[in-house]
Each structure stands twice: as structure tokens, then as C-alpha cells.
């Protein structure tokens, strides 16, 4: 533990996902104080206990249901626990229904958009005025699925495309204040969401993904693909002309 500690105050929403747990451990290893928020408070408590026990950092669990929340009350709760010093907001909440289930099911469509898009915008807007200036950071775990609309996954993909567009504008908006915005586009990650799904390949370990996200925050990057080779894969996929893309069964 001889390395110098950064002591950032970091808020992680959707803290029980495997990627968020990877991010939480990577942040704690660097000495961050953490607020871990999610729907399942008991799970958040266990993750908070884990980073406290392993890395000796301060950590707090807060219950937050992004489908039914008061964003400004949540900002308040975080500010109290971090004694006013909120340096980083990491949003990792996500919901993916099977495309075939979501088609013709308005409730699933609404849920996809609320969890993945609306709540992200609401939380960013609520937190931005309270982030440390300069030096604050907003980091959102989006997806490569937002880069192109594919018949097999475009209801989920549309919510992630919305996130990408929102963050693309948020970055320059906050640049003058010295607040960074990082869009993370993971490829296939080995989580409960992908466990047992057919057609998975080059599946990444969530802790490796968490480490690379925290490194990208430190370097104040704007957009990262993780693992890195997805940048190449998506470069190819994005450059396929629409006329051809429409004929591919993806």
C-alpha cells in the first residue's frame, strides 16, 4: 500500500453489476472513498464491506432505484457521505431484455429506455452542479450496441445510442469548467447479463474492464472501447455502408 492514494470521492450507480464491482475494486485499490448505490441495498452493503475490508477505504451503501428516484435527494445523500467532495460520478445501471421479448411489449421498451437512458440523463443533470470544479468526472458505461442499430438488438441499442449522443454533447458543455466526460463502450463482458447466451466471443473479464475504465478516468479520456480491440471491430462495423448493412443478418 505504499503507492500514493488519490482519495477521490466516487459515486457508483448500478453498483451490483459485475463491471461496477470491477470499477469499485479498481477505485478502492487507488484509495477512493466510495458511495455504492443500487436497488438491492444488501448487495451494495456487501460490496461496500468488500472494498473496505480488502483496501481499507471508506465506503457507503445507498439504496437507489433508478426507475423511481428523486435525483436531487440522491445527490444530497451522496454529498453528505462524501462530506461534499464528489469527484466522480460513474453510472453503470443497465437493463437488457431479449429483443424478441421487447418487441410488442411497451412495458419492457419503457423500462429499457428509463434505466439505460432517461435515468442517466437525470442523474448527470442532477450531479453536474455538484461535481468538483475543476477535475470532476462523469463516466457512463454505455455499449458498442449503440454504435449501429441491428435487428437482433436495436431496442436496447437505441437506448445506448441515446446515451452516446447525450454524452457527446455533455463533454464540450463541461469542458470550460474542467469536468471530464467519459463514454465507455464495452464489448462482450463475462457477466450475469451474458452468462449462457449463445454467440458470445472474445468475452472480457469484468475486473479487467473495470481496471481499464478507471485508467481511462485517470487519463481523462473521452471515449473508450473495452477491451481495446473493440475499437477496431466497431470501426469496421460503423464503416459498412447502410445499403450493405441492411442486408447483413446481425
Amino acid at each position: 500500500m505504499s503507492q500514493e492514494r488519490s482519495k477521490h470521492g466516487t459515486v457508483i450507480v448500478g453498483a451490483t453489476s459485475a463491471i461496477a464491482r470491477g470499477i469499485a475494486r479498481a477505485c478502492a485499490e487507488r484509495g477512493d472513498r466510495l458511495v455504492l448505490a443500487g436497488r438491492d441495498l444488501d448487495e451494495c452493503e456487501r460490496i461496500a464491506a468488500d472494498v473496505r475490508t480488502r483496501f481499507g477505504v471508506e465506503s457507503f451503501a445507498v439504496r437507489l432505484d433508478v426507475e423511481d428516484m428523486d435525483p436531487s435527494a440522491f445527490v444530497q445523500a451522496c454529498a453528505e457521505r462524501l462530506e461534499g467532495a464528489i469527484d466522480r460520478l460513474v453510472l453503470s445501471q443497465g437493463f437488457m431484455a431479449e429483443q424478441s421479448d421487447a418487441q410488442g411489449n411497451p412495458a419492457l421498451v419503457a423500462r429499457t429506455q428509463t434505466v439505460n437512458l432517461t435515468s442517466v440523463i437525470q442523474l448527470c443533470e442532477a450531479f453536474v452542479p455538484h461535481l468538483r470544479v475543476p477535475g470532476g468526472m462523469v463516466c457512463v458505461v454505455s455499449s458498442v450496441a449503440g454504435d449501429r442499430g441491428r435487428p437482433s438488438n436495436h431496442i436496447y441499442g437505441s437506448s445506448k445510442a441515446g446515451v452516446n449522443a447525450y454524452l457527446e454533447g455533455l463533454g464540450p458543455r463541461l469542458r470550460e469548467q474542467g469536468v471530464g466526460v467519459l463514454t465507455v463502450k464495452p464489448g462482450f463482458v463475462d457477466t450475469a447479463m451474458t452468462w449462457g447466451l449463445p454467440g458470445m466471443f472474445l468475452v472480457a473479464d469484468p475486473q479487467d474492464v473495470g481496471n481499464s475504465i478507471v485508467r481511462a478516468m485517470q487519463k481523462r479520456r473521452h471515449v473508450i472501447y473495452t477491451p481495446f480491440f473493440w475499437r477496431g471491430i466497431m470501426l469496421i462495423i460503423r464503416s459498412i455502408p447502410g445499403a450493405i448493412f441492411r442486408r447483413l443478418s446481425l
Binding site: A18, D40, W195
Partner: protein, 456 residues
């Protein structure tokens, strides 16, 4: 219901391999529903898959992979007691606690084992004669158990609370409940280094003799045996001993930060080796090399290198190729023990079953577990490449062990015949009584438990 994955699973020996329905819960809710999953006939927990045989396999039934439930929940620096989920690995424990001066009381030869697995196999290490098996360091276990209404309930057990069930779980191969949490005691150590010694001896007699002398009094002791030499040199060995190195014994700058040992670099075996790669000649050459280069010496080495020499080569089991290997470990009582070890080694040498790794050590007192492996005596462990004839050889070895009052380690077993079990484990009935009480419908089952008739 969390998604299940239909996957072909094997343990570390890559033999046998079965299709299983595996779940990998990341939350307690998901763990509960994986246990209660009525679409699978039974479940068995699996950690990092480092047992060698079929203990964590459940052919055509449920396997619950615990590796994502790996949270350290509480640590008390005064008592050294760590409360954690079953999926936490010893590697993670070493990463987090060795820099603070704590080390597992008992560790097997790999750190890639989970707490749940260490308890279920009641693992032992090079310090069994002084520190016992993992059971001695286990204070309490939280088990998930089936109930009549199909849901599962959690129950803490310890030496004070349902001691019978607690004991049966120590070495119980996961058949007495799914371990969700446990409390284990870590031991304070003076540094992250081991004061290690290496001594060559010419044959088996000298090796056995060695354990009764100063070498046997070391906290950690084990003998590496070359099983391919015959005649006067049969059983030539390297005696490997170790103590936790006190701070003032560390050379130069190491002493200023005694817990900051370097983390070993890791390499990976990229492919399965072709089966021809390991043959009596290549193993003979390796063994000769190892023997010659182990010069009598003492040296200070990082604890991780001393305890886990193979962990730095990820997926080293691939050197045995696709056919895999079986590890065979037996313990025979000290009385007539030398004759037993000699008979076993002789049988192996005659079979020309090249063993890359053979180790011998003296074991101390047993733990309370009715199915726990260690007992006072000589233990011999060998890696044997899998062939068609191997099971026949192992059955011969089992017969020899039984004759000498010995037993085989179930965590390294895929071939024991059920009729040997009651002789090898005389407290089997006690174990079965607990099983009948907590799981009468055998919702907990594994390929091992069915092979050995433990579900009957």
C-alpha cells in the same frame, strides 16, 4: 430465474469431463434461486475447479459456480478472523492481507482455491504436522440447506452450534449444504518471505528418516520424490523445508518493508501439449535435472514462490494434453508406513506411469471431519497422465493402501470403488446420518457422490 449455461466441465486434471447445467450467481438472490432451481435434479457448488477428480462435477445436473460471490466482508486485526463469501480465493486473501502481515493458517499448493473449496476438501499444506488442516482455522460456516417447501434456508454452524453438521462439512465435499459465508482465522506472520532449505537425499529410507530429524521439526516440510529411479537410488528425494522469515533475517533493503514481497510474474501454457510430450524419458530427464539443480542450501524466498511454484504458470495442466491426468493421493499410518510407501512406489515404477510430480510428507493429527482426509501417517501424492490402463493401476494402489490401513483423498479422486470407502473412512456412517438429516431428498449431489454411493 437467472440463466443457466449448458457447459462441458472438468476439474483440474481434465479427466473426467461431463456436461453440466451451471449457474454463476453474482448476488445472494441469484444464489438462492440457483439452489432452488427445480429444473435441475440436484446441485453441487464449485469454486475455481482446482480439485482433480469429479468432486465439483454434476453430470446432467446443476453446478453452482461460486467464483463471483467472493467478497471479503469483515476482518478483525486483533484475532485474525476474516468473514468472507465462499468464492473468495486464497490468492485474493494473500493480495489483501499479506501486506498487512496475515497469511492463511493452511494453504495447499495453489492459491487459486476458494474458501468454500478449502473447507469442503479440508485442504492441508506443508505444515499439516504442526498446524493441522483447514478445519483447524475454520471458526464458523454459513450453509444454505434445502427445506421441504423447495426454498433454501441459511444456517450458521460452528463448534458451538450444530457441531455435528459443522464437522461433517469439514471435508464433506460440498454435500452437506452450499457454503455461502465462512469465518476463518488467518495467522500473523513476521514477513512475506520464507526461510527455505533444500536438501538432497539418496533414497527413500533417507527421506523418511529425514522427517524424524530437524527437518521434520520445521513448520513447513515436504519431500519431492523421483519415482523413476530404481535400485539403490529408488526414491531419491529433495527435502524442502521452510519457516516464516523473521524481519531481522531479511537481507538489506527487504527488511525495511518485510511485507512488500514482489508479486510473481505469470506465464500461461497456451495450448494442450500433444500426448507424446510427457513420456517416461522426458519426465526422467526433468526429474534428473530437478534433483541435480537442487543444491543443498538455505535461502530467503517470497512466500508466494515457496508455496505456489506452479501458480506462476497459468493452466499448467495443459502439459498433460487433452487426455488429462489424475492426481493420486493417499495417506498410510506410520506403522508399517515405510513398507506401504515402498510398495506403492514400486507398483508405480513397474507400471512405468511417469509421474511428473511426486511428493511425500508426514501428516499430523486428524481434524473433526468424518470425511476429512488427513490422518497421522505418510502421505504420497502423484500426478499420473491419464491412459486407458491408469484406472487399473489406481485400483491396485487403492487395494495396497487399504491393506496398510490407508485412505485416498476424495478431492483428487475419479476412480475409487465404493466398496473401499467404509474401510478408508470408518466414520462414514456418521457422515451419512448428517446427510439424511439435512438433505433427505438429496438435492445436494455430485458425480463423486453418485460414483461412491454417497447418495444411497
Amino acid at each position: 430465474m437467472p440463466r443457466r449455461k449448458h457447459e462441458s466441465l472438468a476439474c483440474w486434471g481434465n479427466h473426467p469431463r461431463y456436461d453440466c447445467e451451471s449457474a454463476r450467481p453474482e448476488t445472494w438472490h441469484a444464489l438462492d434461486s440457483s439452489c432452488a432451481d427445480s429444473e435441475v435434479s440436484s446441485v453441487i457448488a464449485r469454486g475455481l475447479g482446482r480439485s482433480y477428480g469429479d468432486a465439483s462435477l454434476n453430470q446432467d445436473a446443476g453446478v453452482i459456480r461460486t467464483e463471483r460471490l467472493d467478497r471479503a466482508l469483515r476482518f478483525d486485526e486483533d484475532t485474525g478472523v476474516l468473514e468472507a463469501e465462499a468464492g473468495l480465493s486464497l490468492k485474493a486473501i494473500n493480495d489483501a492481507f499479506l501486506p498487512r502481515g496475515f497469511f492463511p493458517g493452511v494453504t495447499p499448493g495453489s492459491a487459486f482455491v476458494t474458501l468454500g473449496g478449502a473447507i469442503a476438501a479440508d485442504v492441508h499444506g506443508k505444515n499439516h504436522h504442526t498446524d493441522g488442516s483447514f478445519a483447524r482455522w475454520t471458526e464458523a460456516i454459513e450453509l444454505l440447506l434445502p427445506t421441504d417447501n423447495g426454498a433454501w434456508e441459511a444456517r450458521w454452524v460452528s463448534r458451538d452450534q450444530d457441531a455435528e453438521l459443522f464437522h461433517a462439512t469439514l471435508g464433506g465435499m460440498g454435500l452437506t449444504g452450499v457454503i455461502r459465508r465462512c469465518r476463518v482465522r488467518l495467522k500473523p506472520v513476521p514477513s512475506a518471505y520464507i526461510d527455505a532449505s533444500y536438501q538432497r537425499v539418496a533414497n527413500l529410507d533417507e527421506a523418511l528418516e529425514g522427517f524424524t530429524g530437524a527437518f521434520g521439526d520445521r513448520t513447513y516440510s515436504v519431500a519431492w520424490i523421483d519415482c523413476l529411479t530404481r535400485g539403490d537410488n529408488a526414491g531419491r528425494s529433495v527435502l524442502i523445508g521452510g519457516e516464516h522469515a523473521p524481519t531481522d533475517s531479511l537481507p538489506g533493503e527487504l527488511g525495511t518493508d518485510p511485507y512488500a514481497a514482489p508479486k510473481p510474474k505469470r506465464k500461461r501454457v497456451p495450448i494442450n501439449f500433444p500426448s507424446i510430450a510427457l513420456n517416461p524419458l522426458s519426465v526422467r530427464a526433468f526429474n534428473a535435472c530437478y534433483y541435480r539443480t537442487s543444491r543443498p542450501s538455505g535461502r530467503i524466498e517470497p512466500a508466494r514462490e515457496f508455496f505456489y511454484p506452479l501458480d506462476s504458470v497459468l493452466e499448467w495442466n495443459r502439459i498433460y494434453g487433452k487426455r488429462g491426468f489424475q492426481q493420486y493421493q493417499v495417506v498410510v499410518p506410520f506403522e508399517n508406513g515405510a513398507a506401504a510407501v515402498r510398495t506403492l512406489l514400486d507398483r508405480i515404477t513397474r507400471a512405468k506411469a511417469a509421474s511428473f510430480l511426486a511428493v511425500l510428507k508426514a501428516m499430523g493429527a486428524s481434524s473433526e471431519g468424518p470425511l476429512s482426509f488427513p490422518m497421522p501417517g505418510w502421505t504420497l501424492a502423484l500426478d499420473l497422465p491419464h491412459t486407458k490402463r491408469l484406472d487399473a493401476l489406481l485400483h491396485d494402489l487403492d487395494a495396497i493402501s487399504v491393506e496398510f490401513g490407508g485412505r485416498r483423498y476424495l478431492a483428487k479422486d475419479a476412480s475409487l470403488l465404493p466398496e473401499h470407502l467404509p474401510t478408508m473412512y470408518p466414520r462414514l456412517e456418521e457422515f451419512m446420518r448428517v446427510r439424511d438429516r439435512v438433505d433427505p431428498h438429496r438435492r445436494l449431489s455430485s458425480s463423486l457422490s453418485r460414483r461412491l454411493g454417497l447418495d444411497g
